[in-house]
């Protein structure tokens, strides 16, 4: 729980009811799938039953003849886009790859790859039509692992893919090789008293949002289109849909519905361009929703990976060198988060000599998408368990080895420039001084593990508008989709600056025609960047309010002050009474008309985030099942605006990290077909699997941000897998190097250790 840190704030740091709360507990809130329009058709997608296949032909005649079927589209209905990185709105992206992921062109690259889309008068008829589409495939050998993809003579997924190292003539599955280097690792390892080197494998996992993807496309005869969908970024949906469809951005309006979870997975497009295309073909609104199996087979999970990590320390625990090798599954198209993995794997520590190599490898799996601190959890699983081994060899407490080496202000980052003020050390100290770590853990097969994690956070662009109503209440208009209570936080920032009650601020998420460009709700940026814009928009209101008061008082604006929600003359005396916003609001018409405060920003300075977690486990040595007994996470959030939702982010990321650690995994068979396409078999934690997750909010303000906000959404998912692995080691003495540490894997490791022990005992006899 947060310490009382409201110091000086009236609203920030309190826990008001979220403004969209009543709608969301009464079933009134409208998510994408809840919208319906007159004459609406239903769209469905035909998906590849092969992991890797050439598409020889697609025959749609029989399906089109089914009564109720209105249109069928394939890749031939989309413009062919250039096969190179190009700007799409705000980001650089290979548009050909994006388009080919939405509808396969010539080749199916994973089980579930979209082949064709149907619009019909009901979803059941659309389903029937899918069965009548005849596709002739020429199956190819699937490439399912980074090792298979990288080996010489590997089956090639994308014939045009090249990387810089291998040159323009060599076909490859390696889309990129990145390297980060500091000092001389060979020399560094010579200074080490202890060196630990391990190889890790982590499974592909899905974000697991409960709401499947959805989109409604409405194409008008005037060439304008409207998209209703649940997305983390309405503006990214607009720019990517426009690019895929070959129409200009300004002709698309995206209306963001409420969103049922995303965790990074809803920052791209799948159905949106198809819904518009089918609407254009039929003249009707077209609604498309995915089934759970479609979500798992064909939307972006995050990469499985192979990681080698070698670290060396002197006997007093000082890290002297680290070398890492990371290869991440990109999916059918390039773009895994391996770069982020490489830049985060050693970021929590000050190590003079480092060498990190990272490979982005295409494989016959769905194209990966962002997932909460993308790439960092895989990486931390490696480095944070190797560090635990080093601590043990050095005979140093695992938190102390982190304190000895921990990054702080001035420590060089993996990419070079030094960190500004950061709060890693404070998170380690919060755990070390906390009741949980100080408590004694007793009992057989129980163990405690700790780990730390880093995530960059991002800034980017946001816009905010504040309208002052005649009754003194205000409406706040932003473009950041509310995925976890951010409406309340934004309203609190406006209320704090304006000195009004938080319930007198009504926050609204606007469509792309009604607010300035706002980047995705992602990268832990919403309270940081949009909150910054809201802060500035409120300041803009105050500037205008002072002008109006000056007019009423026949003074100059700089002769008016605004303090504690009151406008008053700078020079006391006279009969001029201070006015609140409620008091001046009815007089705006007489002083020049309405007040609209506005601000837009491109937040360049960001506040890097760190978290440290402590986990207690109990392992059943007969089944290999791990129960989490207790978990406490300390995270530096800069400034907690609404502490309850900050705790919620910390708890939610921890829960996802525990699922990643223990259960979650994509199971592909030897033909590359996904075998666990439902939530019974893709096993996410239920409330029986988790203990109450305890939170320690650490507040080290981000330099440069007017409120010190750092961002809270992501870093909590980074340390849990490693902490659970460390706890399992301390419980049963086996070092796990594969995720998930499911009962079968852990039991195998326990039995192997037992057998080795018996062999040793026999040899000693």
């Amino acid at each position: 729980m947060a310490a009382s840190t409201t110091n000086g704030f009236k609203v920030i740091g309190t826990r008001p009811i979220r403004h969209d709360g009543v709608d969301k507990v009464t079933g009134r809130a409208k998510y994408g799938a809840d919208y319906a329009f007159p004459g609406m058709l239903h769209g469905k997608v035909l998906r590849s039953p092969h992991a890797h296949a050439n598409i020889k032909s697609i025959k749609i005649d029989k399906a089109l003849a089914l009564p109720g079927v209105k249109a069928i589209v394939t890749a031939d209905d989309l413009p062919k886009l250039p096969d190179k990185m190009e700007a799409a709105g705000e980001q650089a992206i290979n548009l050909n790859h994006l388009s080919m992921n939405i509808l396969a062109r010539g080749k199916a690259l994973y089980d579930g790859h979209a082949i064709a889309a149907v619009a019909a008068t009901s979803s059941h008829i659309a389903d029937e039509a899918l069965r009548l589409i005849e596709v002739e495939y020429e199956p190819l050998a699937p490439v399912m692992t980074v090792e298979d993809g990288m080996k010489p003579g590997a089956t090639i997924l994308l014939p045009t893919l090249r990387n810089k190292e291998d040159g323009p003539d060599k076909e490859t599955n390696v889309a990129a090789h990145l390297q980060f280097k500091r000092g001389d690792v060979a020399e560094g390892f010579k200074q080490a008293d202890y060196v630990v080197e391990r190889e890790f494998k982590t499974a592909m996992v899905h974000q697991g949002y409960i709401e499947p993807h959805n989109a409604i496309g409405i194409y008008n005869a005037d060439g304008h289109a409207t998209i209703y969908c649940s997305t983390q970024g309405s503006f990214v949906v607009r720019s990517l849909s426009a690019a895929v469809l070959g129409i200009s951005e300004g002709k698309i309006k995206v209306v963001p519905a409420e969103i049922g979870g995303g965790f990074g997975g809803k920052t791209t497009v799948y159905l949106e361009p198809l819904a518009v295309l089918l609407s254009q073909k039929t003249g009707h609104p077209v609604k498309m929703t995915m089934t759970r199996a479609e979500v798992l087979r064909a939307t972006g999970p995050t990469s499985g990976s192979t990681i080698r990590c070698k670290m060396g320390a002197t006997k007093d625990g000082k890290l002297v060198a680290a070398q890492c090798w990371l290869a991440y599954e990109a999916g059918g198209f390039p773009g895994s988060p391996v770069g982020a993995g490489a830049m985060t794997i050693l970021a929590p520590y000050n190590i003079p000599n480092i060498l990190v190599d990272a490979y982005d490898v295409v494989v016959n799996r769905p194209k990966t998408a962002a997932y909460r601190a993308p790439g960092a959890s895989n990486a931390a699983m490696a480095s944070e368990t190797v560090l635990d081994e080093l601590a043990e060899k050095c005979g140093i407490d695992p938190l102390d080895i982190r304190l000895i080496n921990g990054s702080h202000e001035g420590t060089p980052q993996t990419v070079g420039p030094p960190f500004k003020r950061i709060g890693l050390i404070e998170t380690i100290e919060a755990i070390k001084n906390g009741e949980h770590y100080k408590s004694r853990l007793t009992g057989p097969n129980r163990g405690r593990g700790v780990a730390s994690g880093f995530w960059f956070n991002v800034g980017l662009q946001s816009s905010a508008t504040i309208n002052i109503h005649t009754d003194g209440t205000v409406s706040l208009v932003i473009g950041s989709v509310d995925i976890g209570g951010t409406r309340a936080a934004q309203a609190m920032i406006a209320a704090e600056v304006l000195g009004v009650d938080v319930n007198d601020v009504r926050p609204t998420i606007a469509d792309t025609d009604s607010i300035g460009h706002t980047d995705v709700t992602g990268g832990s940026r919403t309270c940081f960047a949009t909150g910054w814009a809201v802060y500035e928009a409120a300041q803009d209101c105050i500037r205008q309010l002072k002008e109006r008061a000056a007019k009423l008082w026949e003074k100059k604006p700089d002769e008016v002050v605004f303090e504690n929600g009151m406008l008053s003359p700078a020079q006391p005396g006279g009969d001029l009474k201070p006015m609140s916003i409620k008091q001046i609001a009815p007089r705006l018409a007489r002083t020049g008309g309405p007040i609209v405060g506005r601000a837009t920003i491109n937040a360049r300075a960001v506040g890097p985030a760190f978290a440290t977690i402590c986990v207690d486990v109990e392992v059943d040595p007969d089944t290999g099942k791990t129960q989490i007994l207790r978990a406490t996470i300390a995270q530096d959030v800069g400034k907690a605006i609404h502490p309850a939702y900050v705790e919620g982010q910390m708890q939610g990321g921890t829960a996802q990290g525990i699922g990643w650690a223990l259960n979650e995994e994509y199971f592909y068979d030897d033909r590359g077909i996904l075998r666990n396409t439902g939530l019974l078999d893709y096993r996410m934690p239920t409330c029986l699997d988790l203990p109450p997750i305890e939170t320690l909010i650490v507040e080290v303000p981000t330099p440069g941000h007017p409120l010190g906000i750092r961002g809270v959404g992501e870093v909590s998912i980074v340390p849990p897998p490693a902490a659970v692995a460390n706890a399992i080691y301390h419980a049963v003495g086996v070092r796990m190097t594969e995720l998930p540490m499911s009962p079968s894997r852990l039991l195998k490791a326990i039995l192997k250790k037992r057998a080795a022990g018996e062999t040793q005992a026999a040899a000693a006899d």
Binding site: G21, T26, G27, E258, R292, G485, Q651, L679, C687
Partner: protein, 188 residues
């Protein structure tokens, strides 16, 4: 297309006569025929619980039942949980404890929790976690949900001083009440 069937049922206390295809699930009938979109679709296989409704006192995944099977049954959905403009204690506690982030699982959790408290007004934490294990939440890690249900049970039994009034509170005053609690330093 199969011939549609007339189904007579009771939904949130009101008699309803509806027309649906035999192949339509109860969830589809609620959402697409009756426009009761508060019940959510997360999986269609009974694994996530987002579509939970209460039928004759038992929580049921409405995606696993056909609409025609609702004939003669008493179906309660999230749309019927509040009484007029007054939220149910569970709804209010979910808001006070910040038990929802994205909110897509919330209707299902509320209906499962309602069924639990109706048959066991004084559940232990383990009983709450067991009763809610059929509902998946990916945002919260469940901690604040379990706390809200625990607090709601205590409130309904009149065991908690800070919510001694029990029963339902008008929606529009719910947030005002919490602000008041904050001012008194009673919350958290």
């Amino acid at each position: 297309m199969a011939n549609k069937v007339i189904v007579e049922t009771t939904i949130n206390g009101d008699p309803v006569e509806l027309l649906c295809e035999p192949r339509q699930s109860l969830l589809e009938v609620l959402r697409d025929v009756l426009e009761l979109t508060g019940s959510k679709e997360g999986c269609l296989t009974g694994d996530c619980g987002a579509c939970t409704v209460v039928i004759d006192g038992r929580p049921v995944c409405s995606c696993l039942m056909l609409g025609v099977e609702a004939a003669g049954k008493n179906v309660s959905t999230i749309e019927g949980l509040a009484t007029g403009a007054a939220l149910h204690v569970l709804q209010r506690k979910f808001l006070e404890h910040a038990s929802l982030q994205c909110g897509i699982c919330t209707p299902g959790f509320l209906m499962s929790a309602k069924a639990l408290l109706d048959r066991n007004p004084n559940p232990t934490e383990a009983e709450i976690r067991y009763a809610l294990a059929g509902n998946l939440c990916r945002c919260t890690g469940y901690d604040k949900i379990v706390r809200a249900v625990t607090d709601a049970a205590a409130t309904m039994a009149g065991r908690s001083s800070r919510t001694a009034h029990g029963g339902a509170v008008p929606a529009e005053t719910a947030s005002g009440m919490v602000s008041e609690m904050l001012a008194k330093g009673e919350d958290k």
